[in-house]
Symmetry: C2
Subunit: 139 residues, 2 copies
Amino acid sequence: MTIGDAAKASGVNAKLIRYYESIGLIPEAGRTASGYRVYSPSDVNVLRFVKRARTLGFSIERIQILVGLWQDRSRSSAEVKRVALDHVAELEAKIAELRAMSDTLTHLAHACHGDERPDCPILRDLEEGGGHCCDEPPP
Amino acid sequence: MTIGDAAKASGVNAKLIRYYESIGLIPEAGRTASGYRVYSPSDVNVLRFVKRARTLGFSIERIQILVGLWQDRSRSSAEVKRVALDHVAELEAKIAELRAMSDTLTHLAHACHGDERPDCPILRDLEEGGGHCCDEPPP
DNA sequence: CTTGACCTTCCAATCATTGGAAGCCTTATC
DNA sequence: GATAAGGCTTCCAATGATTGGAAGGTCAAG
C-alpha cells in the first residue's frame, strides 16, 4: 500500500500521515526502492486508532500514550481509564469556560434592542469590563 | 504612559499590545523622541475593551468589527447584536462538539473496570472506530 | 513518448500568545 | 560621572494540529 491507499483506508489525510511520522506518533514507514512509503494493514489499524482518538478530542501527546498502552499486552485498564478521565476533565473545563461565555453573551444580546439605535448593552459591557449587570449599574 | 504602564492599567501584556498594534487591531502608538511607545488613558480604554472581548471568546477579527462599531456613533445596535449572536452560535457549536466527546468518553470510562487487567472498552472503541456500543458488538 | 496521477521534500500559513536574544534608554545609586 | 538594574526596542521562533503550495521524481495507461 502506498500512502494514498493508506490514507483512503484509514481516513487520515496523506499529508497528515507524513506529519504523524515526522513527530514520532507513528513509526517510520518502510520504503520502496524509489523512496515511496509502504504501509501494511496493521499500519492502517494504527492510523484508524489515531483518527478515532482525535475525533474524541485527545491531544497527540495523549494519543502517544494510548497507542503505547494499546500495544502493551501487560497494560492495566486503570492506566487507560486514567488517561481518558484526565481528558474528560479537560473537556469539561473547556465546556464550562465556553458555557460561561455563551451565557453571558446570550444574556447581553437578550438585553440589546437590536434596532437602528446605537445604544447597546453589549458594547457597554465590553467598555466597562463586565463587572456589573444591566439592572445594577456600577456606583 | 509607557507600554508597561498601559499593560498594568489595561491588564493586557506589553508583548500582546505590540502584537495587537502589528496586526492593526489597535492604531500605532505615538513615540517619544527615543522611540518608546506612548499611551493615553483613552488608548487604555481600547485595550480594556479588547481584553474583555477576548475574555468572552471573540476572535481578533470580530473584535476589529466590534471596536469599529464601538467608535461609530451612527452604529445600530442590530449590527452589534448580530456579531454577538454569530459568536454565540459558534460557541454553542463548539460546546456541542466537546459535549459529545465528553459524553462518549465518560460512557466508555464508566464501562471500564479500571483495574490491573488489560481488557478495556476504551481501547476497544478506539480500535474499532466507535461504530458500535458495548452491548452491541459489531457483526 | 507523453500525459496525468501519484509520490517525495521543504517551506509557509493558520490563531493568539509567549519566549528569548541583542541592543538601546532611563533612572537610581555610589 | 560611572555603573547597575530594569524597561524599552526589534526580530525571530515556538506552541498544536492541520493544510497549502512549489519543485521535482516515479509509475501506469494510452
